[in-house]
C-alpha cells in the first residue's frame, strides 16, 4: 500500500543480510555521529556561534583599542582562549548529558547496545571538537594580529613558543574532558553545568586559605593549569596538573562511565 512495502523497495520482499552476515557498527562511524550530534542541535550550534562571536568581539576590540605593542599574536591567542575555557566544558557537558536529559538514549542505546563504545566515542568526539575549536581560535588570533599590523601598523610579532601551543592544546583538551566527566557523572545538563562552574570556584576560594595552600597547589585545576597555558611547565607542575586532572577528570569519568554503562535507560 505504501512506497516502502512496494516490491521495489520493501525490506521484506528483497534479500537482506542475515544475522550472521551483519557486521557491527564501526567505531569510527560512532565517533563521527557523536561529533555531529554536538553541533546539529540548536543549542549546540548556538554554543559555537557564541564562542565565535565572543572571540571576534575580543579580537576586534583589541585591534581597535589595544596599544600597538600589545597586539602580538601571542596576546591575541591568550585573549581568545578566555571564552573557550568557560564554554568548552559546557560543550562537553551537553554532549555527555543529552542522551539522558533529552532521553535520546532510548534511540542511541538501542542502535548500539554496547554502551561502552558510545561512551568512548563521545569522549573522542569531544576532544576532536575541542581541538577544532582551538584551531579556529588560533586562526582568529592570526587574523587579529594580521589586521593589527595592517590597520594599526603594529610590528609583526608571530613569536609563539611551542610550549605555549602545546599548553594551549592540552589545556583546552583538559577543559572539555572535565566537562564530559562532569556530564557523565551527573547526567543532567543544568545541574552538571552549575556543578562544573561552582565546584572549582568554591575550591579556588577555599584553596586560598593558607592552611589549604598545599592541597590547592595539587588539586586546584585552574591553578595547576596556569603554568601549562603560559608555557612554563616544570616537572613539579606536571605532577600537580596530573593530580588535579585525575581528581577533576578521572574521578568523574569513572563514576560517569559506571553510571552510563549500568543505568537503566528510560
Amino acid at each position: 500500500m505504501t512506497a516502502v512495502l512496494d516490491p521495489q523497495t520493501s525490506h521484506l520482499t528483497h534479500d537482506r543480510a542475515t544475522l550472521t552476515e551483519t557486521s557491527g557498527i564501526p567505531f569510527g562511524r560512532l565517533v563521527r555521529v557523536e561529533l555531529r550530534k554536538m553541533v546539529d542541535t540548536r543549542a549546540g550550534r548556538w554554543m559555537l556561534i557564541v564562542m565565535a562571536a565572543i572571540s571576534a568581539i575580543i579580537v576586534g576590540a583589541m585591534v581597535i583599542w589595544g596599544t600597538v605593542d600589545e597586539t602580538t599574536f601571542g596576546v591575541f591567542v591568550s585573549l581568545t582562549s578566555f571564552p573557550l575555557m568557560v564554554l568548552l566544558p559546557i560543550v562537553g557537558i551537553m554532549a555527555a548529558t543529552a542522551e539522558w536529559s533529552q532521553r535520546t538514549g532510548l534511540v542511541t542505546f538501542t542502535l548500539e547496545p554496547r554502551r561502552a563504545r558510545v561512551f568512548t566515542a563521545k569522549i573522542i568526539a569531544g576532544v576532536v571538537l575541542g581541538l577544532l575549536v582551538v584551531a579556529a581560535s588560533f586562526a582568529a588570533a592570526a587574523i587579529g594580529h594580521l589586521l593589527a599590523t595592517v590597520v594599526r601598523d603594529a610590528p609583526g610579532d608571530w613569536s609563539m613558543p611551542w610550549q605555549v601551543v602545546l599548553g594551549f592544546v592540552v589545556g583546552m583538551t583538559i577543559f572539555i574532558l572535565s566537562g564530559l566527566g562532569f556530564g557523565f557523572a551527573i547526567l543532567n545538563t543544568p545541574v552538571a553545568i552549575v556543578a562544573s562552574i561552582l565546584l572549582p570556584t568554591i575550591w579556588s576560594i577555599v584553596g586560598a586559605f593558607p592552611r589549604l595552600e598545599t592541597a590547592a597547589t595539587w588539586l586546584d585545576l585552574n591553578r595547576t593549569i596556569e603554568p601549562l597555558m603560559s608555557g612554563s611547565m616544570s616537572g613539579a607542575d606536571w605532577a600537580h596538573l596530573g593530580t588535579a586532572s585525575l581528581v577533576w577528570i578521572g574521578l568523574p569519568m569513572v563514576i560517569g562511565g559506571w553510571r552510563v554503562l549500568t543505568r537503566e535507560v528510560k
Partner: protein, 298 residues
C-alpha cells in the same frame, strides 16, 4: 521472531514485570495490552537491552538484543516517540540513525515518505512537532534499518483516527509480508483492530493471552429485539446466562443458539452478532480491574 521467557524485573520488593512468557511469530502482529503502569514499557525495555532483567530472558531472531551485531538492521524499535531532541530537525534525527547503522542515504527520504511526513515538515525542529508527528517520526526511525522485527511502545498514542487507520494498514501489510510486530497500548480499540494475538498484562503479570478471535469468541452474543424481556425469559429458560439492559442483551451463547430460541419464542430480532469490541472491552476491564489504579473507583 521474538521469544520472551520468564522475564522478570523487580525493584526492591516491587515487581514491575513478573514472569512473563510469550512468542511473536513472523507474519503476525501481537498486541501487548494493559493499563498504565502495568509493566509493558519495562518489559519492552528489557527486550531491547535498556533495562537488565532480574531473571528470565528474551531473544530476537534467536539472540539476546545486546548480542545482535547491528540491531537496527534487524529490529526496529520505538520506545517513546516523545524522547527526541527538541532542537534537531526530524530529517536530522533520521539522518543520525541512518549514519549510525550504515543505511543508504536514500533511506531517509523513503522512511519519511512511508510515514507521511512531508519534506517541509521534516525540516522543522522536533520542538514544533505534534505528538502525532513525533509518532510518525519515531516509526520512521524504527524503519530506517529495513528491519524484519518491529517493537513499538504505544505507537498509536497521539494519532488521530485517520492516523490510527494508516498505522493499522502499514503494520498489517508489514506483517503480511512476513514481518514480526510487537506493539503495546493501553487502549483496547487501538490494538484490537491491528493485532492478531493479544497479550494482556496487569500489574506485571500476564492475565490473558491468545488469538484475538479466541479471546473474542469466548464472549458470547449481543442481541436486541422488540421484546427484550420476553426474549430474556426464553433464554434463561434455556439455561443460558443473560445480562443486559433495555438497549440489548448479552448472552453466553452463539448467535445461532440465540436466534433459534428467539424464533421459537416468536420474538422479532433487531440486532444479533457476536460481541466484538464491547466484549473484549469487558474482558479487558474485568481482567485488569483488580490490578488497575482505578479499582477502588470502579
Amino acid at each position: 521472531m521474538i521469544t520472551v521467557t520468564n522475564l522478570t524485573k523487580r525493584y526492591g520488593s516491587f515487581t514491575a514485570v513478573g514472569d512473563i512468557s510469550f512468542d511473536v511469530a513472523p507474519g503476525s502482529v501481537v498486541g501487548f495490552l494493559g493499563p498504565n503502569g502495568a509493566g509493558k514499557s519495562t518489559a519492552m525495555r528489557m527486550m531491547t537491552g535498556l533495562t537488565p532483567p532480574t531473571s528470565g530472558r528474551s531473544t530476537i531472531l534467536g539472540r539476546e538484543y545486546k548480542d545482535l551485531p547491528n540491531p537496527a538492521r534487524h529490529v526496529g524499535v520505538m520506545l517513546d516517540a516523545a524522547a527526541q531532541h527538541p532542537g534537531r530537525t526530524g530529517r536530522e534525527v533520521l539522518h543520525l540513525i541512518g549514519k549510525t547503522i550504515g543505511a543508504p542515504k536514500a533511506r531517509v527520504e523513503q522512511s519519511l515518505e512511508l510515514v507521511g511526513l512531508t519534506p517541509d515538515e521534516s525540516k522543522r525542529r522536533v520542538r514544533n512537532y505534534s505528538l502525532g508527528m513525533r509518532q510518525r517520526l519515531g516509526l520512521a526511525g524504527a524503519l530506517m534499518g529495513d528491519p524484519q522485527v518491529l517493537i513499538l511502545d504505544e505507537p498509536a498514542n497521539g494519532l488521530d483516527p485517520q492516523g490510527i487507520h494508516w498505522m493499522r494498514q502499514l503494520l498489517r501489510a508489514y506483517a503480511d509480508q512476513g514481518g514480526t510486530v510487537l506493539l503495546s497500548s493501553h487502549l483496547l480499540h487501538e490494538v484490537q483492530i491491528i493485532a492478531d494475538e493479544l497479550v494482556m498484562i496487569g500489574r506485571g503479570k500476564i492475565v490473558a493471552q491468545g488469538r484475538k478471535e479466541e479471546l473474542l469468541g469466548a464472549q458470547g452474543t449481543r442481541v436486541a429485539s422488540l421484546d427484550n424481556e420476553r426474549l430474556a425469559g426464553a433464554l434463561r429458560a434455556a439455561a443460558l446466562e443473560v445480562t443486559g439492559d433495555r438497549s440489548g442483551l448479552h448472552v453466553q451463547a452463539t448467535p445461532e443458539q440465540v436466534g433459534r430460541i428467539a424464533l421459537s419464542a416468536e420474538v422479532v430480532l433487531t440486532e444479533l452478532h457476536t460481541t466484538g469490541s464491547e466484549g473484549l472491552e469487558q474482558l479487558f476491564l474485568s481482567l485488569t480491574a483488580a490490578d488497575s489504579r482505578d479499582s477502588a473507583a470502579a
